[in-house]
């Protein structure tokens, strides 16, 4: 399978372009998608190629636009509804929960809702409390929705394509910093990744870290540092928040006996809680210590950098948690370079 090194952003564009080429019923709409910035560049060239009929900006009316997607989806189209912040999806919660997720159920299976929703999670440079949320668990709590949060260029391409081809509503949460991360991505226009299946990002035998979205990057960084001390960290990216096949995660924890969930969200009633609840149930005998969760501070996201830095969890938190779990002395992290707004992820996975 031939691959090329492209960014997460480019992988999004490719996924959409290929699906629009393949299927005339696919169209993209949302606030400002067609302006010259094209949703952080992720829509580059699409307006030019497909024209305003299939790629258009809209009024600021998130609630109605979500419903519009349903109406189009149940009559044969395959809408892709884009939101430049997950936070704005809150305006669509009524549609998402009372309509999108259950229109199929309510019609006894006669109709399906092949609607893809893309939403970006902001971070850094003072995004603040209204431009930084992920809230995957809120969406995952609703049966009938599928929720995915790809962390690599290959996965965002393969999963976004699967989402567009899926006959169900699929919400794609895209963390903003990931946009610049490059990765090897298959060239095959029918390359797909299955929704519902996790990916083992890195193999290890000592401890399992389930990392979500940007936290996959932090977990890999933690693993790279700890391997120098002989600690083998297995990093698993669920990629899908719901509905998820947990088999790979259980197998990993059964192997390592330890589990950390590094979520890119608040912990309370978060996806991290779901993973912890399931892992303790399915790996009860094998677990040598309780499942530990790291994530956002339980506060709104502050604007000022020093507090914002503390709001987020990162590789250092993961390293310290692993050390505690395994009874290791603290690694000297001076000299290590970590990710920040200025020093984002560069290399390919």
């Amino acid at each position: 399978m031939s691959t090329r090194l492209i960014t997460y952003r480019e992988a999004i564009t490719e996924a959409i372009r290929e699906e629009m080429e393949r299927d005339e019923r696919v169209f993209v709409y949302g606030l400002d998608v067609a302006d010259f910035k094209r949703t952080f560049g992720s829509g580059k060239g699409l307006l030019e190629q497909f024209g305003p009929k299939r790629y258009f900006s809209t009024p600021l009316s998130e609630d109605a636009l979500m419903g519009m997607g349903v109406g189009a989806a149940i009559t044969g189209l395959r809408p892709v509804n884009v939101h430049i912040r997950v936070d704005f999806l809150l305006l669509t919660m009524n549609q998402l929960t009372n309509i999108v997720s259950c229109w199929r159920y309510t019609t006894g299976g006669a109709l399906c809702v092949p609607l893809t929703i893309r939403a970006v999670t902001g971070r850094g440079w003072g995004q603040g409390m209204q431009h930084s949320k992920t809230m995957q668990s809120i969406f995952a709590h609703i049966p009938g929705l599928k929720v995915i949060a790809p962390s690599t260029a290959a996965d965002v391409k393969g999963l976004l394509k699967s989402a567009i081809r899926d006959d169900n509503p699929v919400l794609v949460v895209e963390q903003r910093w990931l946009y610049d991360t490059p990765g090897e991505v298959p060239s095959d226009p029918d390359y797909l990744e299955p929704i519902g299946a996790p990916r083992r990002i890195r193999e290890g035998s000592d401890i399992t870290v389930v990392g979500i979205s940007w936290m996959v990057v932090e977990a890999v960084k933690a693993a790279e540092i700890l391997v120098q001390r002989g600690v083998q960290v297995e990093v698993i990216d669920p990629r899908t928040i719901s509905p998820l096949d947990y088999t790979m995660i259980y197998a990993s924890v059964k192997k390592t006996g330890y589990c950390i969930v590094a979520d890119y969200d608040w912990l309370t009633c978060g996806f991290s809680a779901e993973v912890a609840a399931r892992v303790q149930e399915h790996c009860f005998r094998e677990l040598k210590s309780p499942v530990t969760r790291v994530g956002f501070a339980e506060t709104p996201c502050p604007t000022t950098r020093p507090l914002e830095n503390r709001f987020y969890s990162n590789a250092v938190n993961i390293i310290r948690t692993i050390e505690q779990k395994l009874g290791l002395l603290e690694t000297d992290l001076r000299g290590e370079e970590f990710y920040s707004y200025e020093n984002k992820f560069k290399g390919p996975f």
Partner: protein
């Protein structure tokens, strides 16, 4: 003309008789689904749907027995759904508040006020996109226009020049609250007239007139590539949800009811048929057929099995 009017009466009578059939059986406690009766509004669903092409699409609210029946003319699946049976269109999962019949163009209704309005926007966008020439009509109450999503949808439809009929079924009540208690303006049509769409309004109970007004509106839609907004006033005979009148509750006057009842849409339509020279016997024969159909539908619904327990888990994902 006579044919048309008989056609209209057939639908109206079916709706009225079905609602009364529900009332007849409801106390038996087998239809375990909240019903919002449409009695008093038959002319609107029937008139509008008559003006539409059968292939056109329709969306409604929890008060949609009328549009279901006008679109499908069938009562077997309908009653099966109300009885919660496997033979209902959603195997009983939907109930009265979520009836649908996609193959007849009724793509669904919803019990959350205002929620199907944007769906209709999407449906009509889809027709424009696919160039099908089909209209979409969305029925909603005067309560729905209080919700922001109505205004967003209206703007979107006008902006996108969609082939869409907004049908405001105004019974002056949202549950028990009158429009006056809820609106910071005098006239909804005066407002909507400022949008790029066709607007008309009427408080007629003459079904043919509703049909003509709708036909005119559809003509404008096609001609000017614009949506239309039709404001129809009517009177809700029974309580908001349930089988009874509630004049004793004091929030509305029975006098007004009698004014409307004096021009009851079904009665008026029946009188028209007699005027056109149709015989009382002919009409009664038809009515008896409908009564027979309804008895049969209820019988079948009662006899039908409940859905298999595993149906709980089907139709969640495709």
């Amino acid at each position: 003309m006579e044919n048309l009017n008989f056609e209209l009466y057939k639908k109206m009578y079916l709706i009225r008789a079905t609602e009364e059939k529900i009332r007849e059986h409801y106390a038996e406690d087998e239809m375990k689904t909240p019903c919002h009766l449409y009695v008093g509004g038959e002319h609107i669903a029937v008139g509008v749907i008559q003006a539409l092409d059968p292939a056109d699409y329709v969306f409604g609210t929890y008060r949609s027995h009328g549009i279901y029946l006008a679109k499908t003319m069938e009562t077997d699946i309908f009653f099966a759904e109300l009885y919660g049976k496997a033979t209902g269109m959603a195997k009983g999962k939907a109930g009265s508040m979520h009836i649908s019949s996609p193959r007849h163009g009724l793509l669904g209704v919803s019990a959350v006020v205002g929620t199907t309005i944007p769906l209709a926007v999407g449906c009509s966008f889809s027709q424009q996109y696919q160039n099908t020439g089909r209209m979409t009509a969305v029925f909603f109450g005067d309560g729905a226009i209080d919700e922001g999503v109505f205004w967003e949808s209206l703007n979107l439809a006008c902006l996108k020049k969609l082939p869409l009929l907004f049908i405001l079924e105004d019974n002056d009540l949202a549950i028990h609250a009158s429009t006056e208690e809820r609106h910071g303006y005098r006239s909804i049509t005066a407002i909507v007239r400022q949008y790029d769409c066709y607007v008309d309004e009427s408080d007629t109970t003459d079904t043919e007139e509703i049909m003509r007004l709708t036909q005119t509106a559809i003509g404008h839609c096609h001609h000017n590539s614009q949506p239309a907004f039709l404001h129809f006033k009517y009177y809700r005979y029974y309580e908001h949800v349930g089988m009874n009148t509630d004049f004793h509750a004091g929030y509305r006057s029975e006098t007004v009811f009698h004014e409307w009842k004096a021009r009851d849409p079904v009665d008026m339509q029946r009188a028209k048929l007699l005027n056109f020279g149709m015989s009382e016997e002919e009409i009664i024969r038809f009515e008896q057929e409908v009564q027979q159909q309804l008895r049969e539908s209820v019988r079948k619904a009662k006899a039908a099995p409940f859905p298999d327990p595993k149906e709980l888990y089907t139709d969640v994902y495709a």
